[in-house]
Subunit: 299 residues, 5 copies
């Protein structure tokens, strides 16, 4: 997520560089060709107004759908944050470490497993390798199991379930409280399912392909359409409008895939770290510092 | 669901082939007729701008409604995924196989019945024959009952309910846990009801018929409208805009019916297989491999 | 609900007949009057583009709101379907017919009362007389009470509540299960409340009146606007655009009132029958056949 | 709420009278001034098309937001209706009047308090004096407390809570059922909170002020824009379009404030009376007749 | 939140002053330059219609998203209001101050902590210092802890949890009621999480940057576009349309950040005070007066 009002990071502008240069080259080329009378062309002013309206329609669908996906992803991560805190609060307050058969570290183990869970979910969504936090916060056994599992987050959540079962077996938690923790875990499963749904189901191909195709076609015919009006100003007029449509397509694409490991991502690294800090504070452990924007981008 | 950025599969483009050829033939024909002065026609430039706006309005309704239906269908399948896992987790953790009267295979039987359920739901929505998974994962009796039932998924869910009742009768599950499983089953019923609602209630006929009719009419009058401006370029200009409107209609239709067994379907086969793999792993059974895209289409 | 792709039933097209004839008569009349030079008129081409945009805005509100009402109505009926099945499942599995004081027919009576409920809800929403299913599925006493009540569905639900109280009095159901049934009944009350809200609260008068008024005014001025461009083609050009706006108004009206007992209704008769069949099968009784479309309309 | 298809009540049309007259006077005045050649003016045809588009954008935001507020208000009142019935059903079925310490009138008192609640909520939202139903349905003590409270509905709900506490103290209700009633009361609190949110939070000032300001400015410049095209027809063409924009602003305003005690209100008086009738029937008391539309307006 | 129909407060208009002056200066300058024939320019009338449509598209996304954020923020605060009342009602009715081990002030302490919570949440969202209400309503110990915590609201809620644990330890509350209070606290956590999500996740940079950039570019080219039509009227025509687009951008920005401590904020100070008054009344303590609008702005 880009945090500054006017991002200066090169990574933001780079994807726009090639299309901009190509667009301007084309616009200038067509203008020069007209000026040198290489060919004649009738005016098509109204034609392209209609064309522009139709493209705006397509772009509207794409950008709206993209934004809805991005915001749903962010809302689901908000749910992960809330319920991670709930898991930790429940692990620290509902487990009774004073019963005869108790294992004192069981509560903190559950909190640490929850931290490993959010980091694992983050790397899983970005299709990265398992994070170092798996080793840091899980026992050696559990870490191996999680790293070998086809789905890291699901395996971590299963591990949490096992810790809960251990608490029940040791008599550290009553049935009522156990159901409460289980329902919290089930809300986490739901949120994870929603995030994976967004990750695995891209926008329909028609929404991805057509706006892009038509916007580019439009950029190609635009200088022909405005040359009679604008003469030497054609590259500016045509370039501005063309740029606008290409940008809208780019905005739709960036928002529609909020876990693609680029600058427009939902800032999952920062969110995971926030949860890590909060949860470590709750069990009185030392916490790392928060994630800061790198080049005005919060990852 | 088409998975590639630029699908090359013939099945994606075939439905567009006939309209494209007809559209271009018509556009070329009208242009030639004008050039040969077979008839004269006054300009109707502004007229068709208005007409285009009105059609855009209709198309907007249709495409938005179609996308909403497609995404609701996908979200409901996401709910099926989550709660299938919940059923399996509950069947493996809440049933106690150590009580005197226990049947050890009851838990795994419930997990297998849940697998049969999602496959049955998939074929039922696509109006196909009952899937082979019915025979593979259900007992012979249950499989016969499910295949004879008017609604396969409902019959499978009823069978799951009977297994749960058996668990209760054998004392393998307490009342509290039983209610928990039952509420999970009830969420599955809800999601199934939502999917059947989308299947059985097509878009209102006005949303299906009118955009298509007006878009086609528009394609017919378009070359007359732009000939005076574009002359020999008419087929290109008119064809591009016409193609755009026809494509938008097609997009709306494809999305509005997400279980029609074509390339734009929600990828139910892949989703069902994912559930199958996950659930078989949970009971330690061998799982088949995941479904891979066929010709860039994930079914 | 119209089920065919291209409805041929006269009832679909009849409401459109009179406006179409009036529209064409007017368009032809104005064209003839111009041709005979009965009067002159300056061009108003741009003027009516703006006018068309403003009307499209109004129509957009109306059609969107209408579709949202129609889909909400359909979704609420989907909830009625799901929870009718739940009532029946609970009545057959949670009631214990083996206790000393049991009445064996109590469970089936509850299922039959639920069938009477959905039929009663259907006729109530369409403002028809109480359906014959009241007499068929309720005891004589209950049928009389329901038919005399101001709200048939509410009275039927109250009757269901009485049967549940009887089950409790006879000791056929424990408190836990009773609460479960009661919460199902309360979801049914909610869905019924939502349906009655849609029925009793029409679209705001501004949404109903203004689009219709402006679309008609537009049709009246349209031939004056396009005559200079289209000459003898005026009736076709003007008629097509005018027809489009009138159709959009009609679509909005048809969708906004989904229980008005016309061809665009939510198919409540078919849905009620489906529930009836499912529930009768659950208690092993003979069921009538499903409702089939009549003249391509499913009621 | 206006119930007729074409309202004839003067109160509907009166707010539109002054703007209409002012608009027509201005349009006629400008036309006459042009005809008398008092001044010349260049054509601004395209300019105002753009202007109209921008205003349509603003109006679209306003009307959509207004409609969403109106429908949310209506839906929340639907929730009040449903849960008022639930309170009454629970008060009549869950309270046991046969225990030694019982007070027979406690159940009916709760039902009557619920009736007082909805009337109190209605007048509170319309910022009117406490309704006579407070005195009719509450004990003298409670009525005084409610009328003196800063929030009448909240005080009435608190009174209901006290009656419930009395029932518990007298042993007329068990803990399980008490929790059920309390959760119903809590849903009522939620719905009331939603209604007060809509009441206390008007549309943002930008949504209220700007569309109105720009629509009026547009009406002022419109005759200048269309005079060259329309000549003596200017007042009609300009008046129609101007009227349309002013009406859209009015529609947005009317819908955005659904409790302002005018003809476009959610019909809270009728809804409250419906609840009153239903609840009185449930305790076998005489009920007043329903509220009928006055001059085609249902209050 | 601005409460008057036509705000006169300078703070509302000041952010608009500089752009307005710059816009008019530019428009007048270009007009004068044209009149003095400093340069010639071809007409670009249709070009900028298209440009305007594209910008309207972008602005539409931005304003809609901004309004949705603002209304979600307001709705979440409505949830805070409702559940603050629930916490207070539960603290006063569910805690039993008559048990042997009771501390009479525990209930009122919980109510006061809830008041401190909402004020803490308000200042936290506005990134201000901890409010004086922390010291007024919390014990010295708790106040210090809350003021040192990284998140004040979370620390206050943790304190509330400790008071609840104390009540349980002293036997003042049974398990059933404790779960009820805990679920209320969990709803508050959810609402707080939603508010922080809106605070910490600004609109995507594309939504913030591009509409603003394109609207300004549009204002720069507008006078060139309309000069040929409007001549000396150019500054008025161009200024009006330009102002409209700049205002739309400003509206989007103001609404998108509802906790930025400016006049367009959700009125959190007033809402917090309302809760404070209500809750103090419930424990019979003296309450401060409500917050009144300052210069027609309710904070």
């Amino acid at each position: 997520m880009i945090t500054s009002r006017l991002p200066r990071s090169a990574s933001v502008w780079r994807p726009l560089l090639v299309p901009t240069i190509m667009l301007l080259t084309w616009d200038v080329g067509v203008t020069v060709a007209f000026q040198l009378h290489w060919f004649e062309f009738p005016g098509i002013t109204i034609q392209y107004t209609l064309y522009g309206t139709a493209i705006a329609l397509f772009l509207g669908f794409m950008v709206n759908a993209g934004y809805a996906r991005w915001w749903e992803a962010r809302t689901l991560w908000g749910s992960i944050v809330n319920h991670s805190r709930n898991v930790a609060r429940e692990a620290t307050t509902l487990l009774d470490p004073t019963v005869p058969n108790a294992r004192r570290e069981l509560g903190p183990d559950m909190v640490r497993a929850q931290i490993a869970y959010v980091h694992s979910l983050r790397t899983s969504l970005r299709q990265q390798d398992p994070p170092p936090e798996i080793d840091r916060y899980l026992s050696r056994d559990a870490a191996v199991r999680v790293k070998n599992a086809s789905s890291g987050p699901t395996a971590t959540l299963t591990h949490l379930g096992r810790l809960l079962a251990e608490a029940r077996r040791r008599g550290m938690i009553d049935d009522f409280a156990r159901v409460q923790v289980e329902s919290t875990l089930s809300v986490l499963t739901d949120a994870q399912g929603g995030l994976e749904r967004i990750k695995k189901t891209p926008l329909p191909v028609q929404y991805r392909l057509l706006p892009s195709f038509f916007a580019r076609t439009f950029c190609i015919i635009l200088p022909f359409a405005v040359y009679q009006d604008l003469q030497w100003w054609t590259p500016i007029g045509s370039g501005l409008v063309g740029m606008m449509f290409l940008l809208a397509v780019q905005v739709g694409k960036d928002l529609a895939d909020p876990f693609s490991d680029d600058v427009h991502d939902v800032p999952m690294t920062a969110i995971s770290r926030t949860i890590e800090i909060d949860l470590l504070e709750m069990i009185g452990a030392d916490a790392p510092g928060p994630v800061n924007p790198v080049g005005q981008v919060l990852w």
